[in-house]
Symmetry: C2
Subunit: 409 residues, 2 copies
């Protein structure tokens, strides 16, 4: 019997309890032993929850879970890089107990230190649910593609942003309207900044990068742009060149280093990424031997996230023993991150353009600055050819406030 | 150091050698120890191969690999359910050594017995490369979705058939022409029956079914149809209802049992399956908590298959210890397979139709027999609504020789 303690009983926590109860027998057969929820802790004991907690010890102080006799692993579904989650992770791992979490902020910020702590204490640190919900992408990178040198990864990693962008396109509504709708449906939080400004995607990208390249997760070496500036006009202009706008996390080798970028991007309508709509997530991985691999599935919500958490629990019960990031923490390199993202075709909107003809002048100025202009998208946007990033930023700087998005192949 | 012996040095065998050599350092870091190719055996020692065999012991009799001192695992890339592969598997596992293979025929035919042998001798039986080439779908089912009750799985599992169907559509050529082209390119074998008649897909489907439902692989309880009967007229008619034709392996719960089916099917043009072209493979999995998960990647070829084989090798080096089919061999049920595939909309071609008007008469006869006719696709095809399979076969039997394909949602 594997005894777990669950910290945090929000949607995901309740989903994990429900899944372990619903499929208990099946899970026991696959895990090789029953999984027992020994104890549970959350902020509000009285709150009505969509799961049965009878027979489970309630603990008021979440820190106590790590030290309860007989607990093999703590499953943390609280979230947040600092504060209680970090403290709980440290205490749990120091006790030689495993730590399973969906907490992307924690892993992106302290992944290496926690991985080291896990190794030192012969415990496992598992976080499949931290990236792309139910899609087993951590496992795919850490194990399924372990023979490959990863060349690139890109993905739609935030369901909130994807929902907003999908709704803007389908319903021809503004960003603000789509955000309000997402909030009403429970897809976006009251304070949506973490999602829409790209930080959630950045956390997930840092984790994918660490797994793909064997480097320490590093949020500082990343260019991060969110979806607030995207207008209905952008969505319309993207349609005109058979593209859709998606918030992507991108990482690839560039300029001898590793370039990480979070940005709204134009992707071809015919691509898997364009066809990943609403709250779905998708990740594309490119390995030197496997070639291109695409994974698409539900990126958030109680059930898919619970599926990922329980996969980690079953792995643990089966005796899985792999370093958290695929290689020993001591071998995780401090990456040489590239300051330059690779040259790509770009979508450029110059909001100040209001007279017809002005767009032609802007194109001429860009050409003079060494930038190829492939197409005008009146009234205020242009498609630029692949240009050296330094040349591009010099030329664009002269135009004042602009909005740019990469156009992906 | 993990010592392996490789049996079989065709395209895939040479690919595995190349991958272990190319990414040796990376693989050692991820595996926690170096992987050493200790010995190798193939039919023709003199043959020129696309890999460096210096320093590797050549063994003429492949059976000897299983008994060589110091060998931890045999990697079999010979193929075939019976004969040498089966013998090698049995000897290797009985010696308490692990067996890693891409051999779908072997696993589909003797998977349970071999899994039991592996357990009895504390060895691992691993076969990620047996289904869908580089796509880590075995791992996704056995581990990534281990918390889920699987509701259904479907996939494009044979690159040869998918290439032929893609070419028939793109180049408007006949089945025979597309097959000849596939043979010229090395995508189809001189004797293509195993691929085009659906047996290769059937082997892979049996393996997926075993993993998904915890049952013994069973090729007998399966309806198998290949792509030989598909004509350019079918491809054209499918286009008219915004579909493409794909050879699918399908499994789902039906009628209280498990229904396995291999058949060319019509899939909506907008679906991931329709957009999986050429030698690509794709698998869709549906779990009760994770929802729908799609995986798409290269389904064959030296490099992607080597990627899957090496993932198994690394898992073994990392100490992975999971029953071959996710649950103990003794727990694998003899499934109650459903003789009836679920009712679906159907594409029906009545080849004898040659006079205009006759299609209307056929539609009338079908309606009289209790079948809904949704649409006529002159000159000789019809779209039928969801009908009870027994009713449908009675009504269709009266039409003489016909060709039917399910239309997927």
């Amino acid at each position: 019997m594997l005894n777990i303690a669950i910290a945090g009983l929000g949607t995901v926590g309740a989903g994990v309890v429900r899944l372990l109860q619903t499929n208990g027998e099946l899970i026991a057969a696959r895990a090789g032993q029953p999984i027992n929820i020994k104890a549970i802790s959350a902020r509000d004991k009285g709150k009505k929850r969509d799961c049965d907690l009878s027979g489970i010890v309630w603990v008021d102080d979440v820190r106590k879970l790590a030290e309860m006799p007989g607990v093999d692993a703590v499953v943390e579904l609280i979230g947040g890089a600092d504060g209680i989650a970090r403290e709980l992770a440290e205490v749990t791992l120091k006790k030689g107990r495993s730590y399973i979490t969906a907490n992307k902020a924690l892993i992106a910020a302290y992944g290496r230190a926690l991985a080291r702590l896990a190794e030192q204490n012969k415990a496992q640190l598992l976080f499949e649910a931290s990236v792309a919900g139910g899609i087993p992408v951590i496992k795919a990178l850490r194990e399924g593609l372990a023979g490959n040198r990863i060349r690139a990864a890109r993905g739609i990693l935030n369901g909130t942003c994807n929902y907003i962008l999908s709704r803007m396109r389908e319903a021809k509504i503004s960003f603000a309207e789509a955000l309000a709708e997402a909030q009403a449906k429970g897809y976006a939080e009251a304070d949506p900044a973490g999602d829409i400004d790209g930080h959630d995607t950045a956390n997930k990208l840092a984790i994918l990068t660490a797994l793909a390249y064997g480097v320490e997760p590093d949020l500082t070496a990343m260019s991060i742009a969110g979806i607030r500036p995207v207008t209905p006009a952008d969505i319309q202009a993207a349609e005109e060149i058979d593209c859709r706008i998606k918030l992507l996390g991108l990482v690839e080798e560039s300029d001898g280093g590793i370039a990480q970028q979070v940005s709204p991007c134009l992707v071809p309508k015919s691509s898997l990424l364009a066809q990943t709509e609403g709250v779905m997530n998708a990740v594309l991985l490119r390995g030197d031997f496997v070639g291109d691999l695409a994974l698409q599935g539900r990126g958030a919500g109680a059930e898919p996230t619970a599926s990922a958490v329980v996969a980690d629990i079953i792995d643990l019960a089966r005796g899985l023993s792999i370093p958290a990031f695929g290689v020993k923490a001591a071998q995780l390199k401090k990456a040489r991150f590239s300051r330059h993202v690779p040259a790509r075709r770009m979508y450029l909107r110059v909001p100040a353009v209001d007279k017809s003809g002005a767009l032609v002048d802007i194109a001429a100025a860009l050409r003079t600055g060494g930038v190829t202009v492939e197409k005008l998208l009146p009234p205020e946007a242009l498609v630029l050819g692949k240009t050296d990033p330094a040349v591009l930023s010099r030329a664009v700087a002269k135009l004042g406030a602009v909005f740019m998005m990469p156009i992906m192949d």
